[in-house]
């Protein structure tokens, strides 16, 4: 076997040392590249959080706006009418006729009590944010109460499966707003008479299903007007809480909108 000369050894040592220098250099480059990606990822996460927060704020405002609209309508159509009627009844009392006066006073008292009840309901509605704090189930119940009060819809609400002990206020708010938008669409466009709401919780998935018996629509061929019905908004909102929306409808056979989302 031929012995290596000093020159060969020299070259070998220098080469090996250089290789042993290049290896850590590559490790540093790799770490640097990975670190830059990590930075980008963190920035993207921050942006997503900002978008999420902005959406939550917007949703809160919309829920408040809807509450104010409901209150405005109720004050005008209901409490206003009751108080006008109370005033008329009290004005028409003839003090000479004690029996008739008694009847009218009783009617006025009844109208006042109804007004007070309405005012109390309105007061609760004004605490819209607190409704969400009480939980999604309670908030949905209050919403349904108002729809039923109109007398135009028969509303069925089924709550299946026990909700988890710890809730997610942000998701509750988004889901509640989605429900409000679906109900608004039903009331504005569907001409439905029955609304079925189903809230199910199973295996860390929350399912909110709203079905109506209205005129329905063609899901595949939505007009610009129909897209503007808030369907896109519903999908976008469900997306930011990691959820999905499925819409099943065809002309003449009502609509079923199902929102599923991981929960809490």
């Amino acid at each position: 076997m031929q012995k290596m000369g000093d020159n060969d050894v020299k070259k070998l040592v220098i080469t090996t040392t250089l290789i042993f220098l290049i290896a850590p250099a590559f490790i540093l480059i790799y770490i640097s590249v990975y670190n830059r990606r990590k930075k980008r990822h963190i920035e993207e996460k921050k942006m997503m959080q900002l978008t999420f927060d902005a959406e939550i704020t917007k949703t809160q405002l919309e829920v408040q706006e809807q509450t104010m609209q409901t209150i405005g309508a109720d004050l005008h159509d209901n409490i206003g009418q009751l108080l006008s009627l109370t005033s008329l009844t009290l004005n028409s009392i003839e003090l000479d006729n004690a029996v008739k006066a008694r009847q009218k006073i009783d009617a006025a008292i009844d109208l006042t009590v109804r007004s007070i009840k309405e005012m109390r309901l309105l007061g609760k509605l004004l605490q819209g944010d607190q409704l969400i704090v009480m939980g999604l189930t309670a908030a949905i119940s209050y919403e349904i109460n108002w729809i039923e009060k109109s007398g135009q819809y028969k509303v069925t609400y089924i709550n299946d499966g026990e909700m988890p002990a710890s809730n997610s206020p942000d998701k509750d708010l988004i889901l509640f707003r989605i429900l409000q938008e679906i109900l608004n669409n039903i009331m504005k466009h569907s001409k439905a008479t029955e609304i079925n709401i189903n809230l199910e919780y199973q295996d860390a998935i929350l399912l909110l299903k709203v079905a109506d018996n209205g005129i329905g629509f063609d899901v595949d061929n939505l007009s610009a007007n129909q897209i503007g019905m808030g369907l896109q908004n519903i999908q976008k909102r469900a997306g930011i809480i990691g959820g999905n929306v499925s819409i099943n409808s065809s002309p003449g056979s009502g609509a079923i909108i199902t929102v599923t989302t991981p929960y809490p």
Binding site: D6, V9, K10, T16, T17, N35, K38
Partner: protein, 236 residues
């Protein structure tokens, strides 16, 4: 890292032109790094970082003492055998500090120190104090490479972003990794090529270690500067 003078001593005689023999690439790199450490770390709030000043002072003293002893007794191995204890102590202290940010580092560092103690004592028992503990140094170099890579693994795994271009820890480990990884060839095959001379007085190992020392102390100096920036900025 500070073995350079020792290795040179084993194969050739130093130039006896009095003071100039103390001005080597290694002594200059170490002294410069020591000065930078004083400027940047003297007021550091961390005792671990501050201890780097003492370590570099010990390095400079060992290097100069090594040259001095060599000119008088022709064998300076005992100086570097003592220094090896310092080197191990300070390197482990620093890694202990670095790992503590991510894991419970005591078991790992104590294992490393136990390994060092065993090898060191076995080495002394085997060949005494006047021969350099080569095997201990070679094994500890591999341990430091492992520590450095493990530190980078923890850094990558951590979900927080670290601005590495200004990270003192990152550059300190980079210097350590470069030096101990690249000197592996010298550690493993030292005996085979220590006789290969590049100039009339200096062998191949000397130049390799001189190059590695420049890399090590440059990166450490930058690391101290980063540390200074970091502490100054956090005060503002």
């Amino acid at each position: 890292m500070e073995k350079s003078a020792l290795r040179t001593a084993q194969v050739h005689h130093y130039d006896n032109r009095f003071m100039w023999q103390y001005f080597t690439v290694n002594t200059l790199a170490e002294t410069l790094c020591f000065v930078i450490a004083i400027v940047c770390l003297a007021k550091d709030k961390s005792l671990i970082w501050q201890s780097m000043i003492i370590y570099l002072l010990a390095t400079c003293i060992a290097e100069i003492l090594g040259i001095l002893v060599l000119t008088t007794t022709k064998n300076n191995n005992w100086v570097y055998n003592i220094f090896l204890v310092f080197e191990t102590g300070f390197n482990n202290l620093m890694f202990f500090y670095l790992f503590s940010k991510y894991i419970k580092s005591k078991p790992l560092i104590i294992s490393g120190l136990a390994l060092f103690s065993t090898l060191y004592l076995l080495g002394l028992n085997d060949h005494g104090f006047m021969l350099y503990n080569d095997n201990t140094y070679a094994v500890m170099s591999i341990v430091y490479v492992f520590y450095s890579l493990y530190y980078y693994y923890l850094l990558i795994k951590d979900e927080h972003y670290l601005k590495i271009s200004h990270s003192p820890e990152f550059w300190w480990v980079a210097g350590t990794l470069f030096f101990y990884f690249a000197n592996t060839t010298c550690n493993l095959y030292e005996k085979k090529f220590e006789h290969i001379m590049i100039t009339s007085t200096k062998n191949l190992t000397y130049f390799i270690f001189a190059g590695l020392n420049i890399i090590l102390y440059s990166l450490w100096s930058y690391s101290f500067i980063c540390r200074r920036w970091e502490t100054t900025m956090s005060k503002n």
